[in-house]
């Protein structure tokens, strides 16, 4: 009975699965989501010696593969346009396109905000003119 319970843990330590994970895929998805590679710390620290041999290297291989897809102009643009701070997830050699996208996204966001502000100011101005033309006294 006890043996069965232990076996069902499947190498889990403190609810952390330490074996049988597709580490490559996990790394790939972590990178594609724009998360830090340190996401792996919970396995490394949680599992200790129980961590499957080669897990770190496989995870990093997958993570690097994911970064290639993540560190694009489009993702940088999206992050800039959503006004989030630029993270440093992209390594230096993959960073240039992502950074350019981020800057363009951020710039376009600012322009859009400025446009909106301008439009609001115009609308307010037009309201004020309308009101003065109709003889209404401004409050």
């Amino acid at each position: 009975m006890l043996v069965g319970v232990l076996a069902s843990c499947g190498g889990n330590v403190k609810n952390q699965q330490c074996t049988g994970v597709d580490w490559d895929q996990h790394g790939y998805e972590t990178a594609k989501a724009g998360k830090s590679p340190r996401d792996f710390n919970r396995y490394r620290d949680g599992c200790g010696d129980k961590l499957e041999a080669g897990a770190t290297d496989t995870y990093l291989d997958g993570y690097t593969r994911g970064l290639v897809e993540f560190c694009t102009y489009e993702n940088g643009y999206a992050r800039g346009f959503s006004n989030k701070s630029m993270d440093n997830a992209c390594p230096v050699e993959m960073r240039s396109k992502y950074e350019r996208g981020y800057k363009v996204g951020l710039l376009e966001l600012k322009e859009k905000i400025n446009m909106l502000k301008l439009r609001n100011e115009n609308a307010e101005h037009e309201d004020a003119v309308d009101r003065s033309n109709s003889g209404a006294t401004p409050q």
Binding site: R38, F40, T56, L60, T64, P91, V92, E93
Partner: protein, 463 residues
């Protein structure tokens, strides 16, 4: 666009003229008509480096600047382990390729080769065109004696535009070892072009040219090297080796003599000089050298034996005696077997010069020192036959037959002895027995048949 000055071209032109003259007739410069060669001015086009070239260099990330400064101070203080500990706190993907290169180089310098290799390969996964990573990894594989892998990475470094002489030189060396001389020549030339003063590349090029049997080019290079370093014995030795390849024995001898004058002490070279002198008939100089080589070190019977064979082949028995007598001073330092060999050689010279009592004394001394000296037993037996001392001859042959190495020769010698003694029956019986044991002696059946005929003729005449 870059231009070479007129003066440089003039100098180059003169060199070419002299070189041309040397190649045509090395010994008759005065007879060579003056040749004028006019070259058109060369044009050089500098390569245009564009964007992709940046992928061949690694720089650190801006967020690493501060850390890099700290590490620089630590490295200057020789604290490589501390730098390594700091770098190992990161996942490899968190470090820039430049920082990973630093990590790999520290592993390399601390002889942690497996980790260095893994780290270099990680860098190359991220930056496949990083020249420095290819050349460092090539060095690493060279240290680990993985020649094929080393060659691959050096050739990648060169293909990506490495302009380091070391990389070209190492590639030359590996090509020479793995693929033969033709694939090495260009690499060594490149290395020599980048570092013209580095003798290593020139010597590599020389080896490649020689192995490729491009003797004219090799000789021209060597001549240039000798002109620049006339007191370097190795260059003269190289010239001698090259001359031997070309079967130019006089040039080989002159070069070897020059190397000796400049202080080369290698016994093999001294032997080569002596051998060449013997070949060219200057026996006195040869003997001087042989005596010198024997004086300069402890007596070595293998060498003495070698000299003995050279001189006896030329019939120089008096010189052999001189050499042996000169060598005799150190005889007591030899073991008994070697002393036995020495007295055997002396006995052979005595026999040749007709000094029979001395020969007899030296044979006996040789056998006293080593009763199992098969060559002494066989030679003494043959000597005894000459003196018609058949009883002694038979005795020595029988002693020699007990030694497996000498058995066949001793039995044949004894058969010859019986023929000399006209004991044809004994000779026939012995030869039949020898042939049974050594059927490879294809000439024996004829001899056996001859003896059978003699015996038959003798029997019929007796009847």
């Amino acid at each position: 666009m870059m231009r070479i000055s007129k003066r440089d071209w003039l100098r180059y032109g003169i060199c070419r003229c002299v070189l041309g003259a040397l190649l045509v007739s090395p010994y008759c410069l005065a007879d060579v008509p003056k040749i004028e060669i006019k070259f058109s001015a060369p044009a050089f086009v500098l390569p245009q480096f564009t964007g992709p070239y940046q992928e061949r260099e690694a720089s650190i990330a801006p967020e690493e600047y501060e850390q890099a400064e700290t590490m620089r101070s630590l490295l200057e203080a020789g604290k490589r382990q501390e730098v390594l500990a700091a770098l190992e706190k990161f996942y490899s993907i968190e470090l820039s390729p430049a920082m990973l290169m630093l990590q790999a180089q520290i592993y390399f310098s601390l002889e942690m080769y497996d980790k260095a290799e893994t780290t270099y390969l990680t860098v190359l996964k991220r930056m496949p065109q990083l020249i420095r990573a290819h050349s460092d990894l090539g060095q690493l594989y060279l240290v680990r004696e993985q020649a094929e892998k080393a060659r691959h990475h050096f050739s990648r470094a060169v293909a990506l535009g490495s302009n380091e002489a070391l990389v070209h030189g190492q590639l030359g060396y590996l090509n020479l070892t793995l693929f033969g001389p033709f694939s090495a020549i260009s690499s060594y030339q490149q290395a020599a072009a980048l570092e013209p003063e580095n003798m290593q590349w020139q010597q590599g090029l020389l080896a490649a040219l020689t192995q490729a049997r491009m003797f004219d080019a090799a000789q021209a290079l060597l001549q240039d090297m000798i002109n620049r370093n006339p007191r370097e014995p190795n260059l003269w030795l190289n010239q001698a080796a090259l001359a031997l390849h070309r079967e130019d024995h006089r040039r080989a001898l002159a070069s070897l003599e020059m190397a000796l004058v400049l202080g080369d002490k290698d016994l093999r070279n001294m032997k080569a000089v002596a051998q060449l002198h013997l070949h060219l008939g200057s026996y006195d100089r040869a003997l001087d050298l042989l005596n010198n080589s024997m004086r300069g070190q402890s007596l070595d019977m293998a060498t003495t034996r070698e000299y003995f064979n050279w001189l006896t082949q030329l019939g120089q028995w008096a010189k052999v005696r001189e050499m042996l007598e000169a060598a005799g001073d150190g005889i007591e330092r030899l073991g008994q077997d070697d002393q036995s060999q020495y007295y055997l050689l002396l006995a052979k010279v005595d026999v040749q010069q007709g000094k029979m009592p001395d020969a007899d004394r030296h044979f006996r001394k040789s056998l006293d020192l080593n009763p199992a000296n098969d060559e002494s037993l066989l030679s003494y037996a043959a000597y005894a036959i000459k003196g018609k001392n058949y009883v002694d001859a038979e005795l020595y042959y029988m002693r020699a037959e007990a030694l497996p190495k000498a058995e066949k020769k001793a039995q044949l010698g004894r058969a010859q002895l019986y023929i000399e003694m006209q004991d044809y029956k004994a000779a026939l019986n012995l030869l039949r027995s020898v042939y049974q044991k050594y059927p490879d002696l294809v000439h024996l059946p004829d001899n056996i048949e001859l003896l059978e005929n003699v015996l038959r003729a003798k029997n019929s005449s007796d009847v």
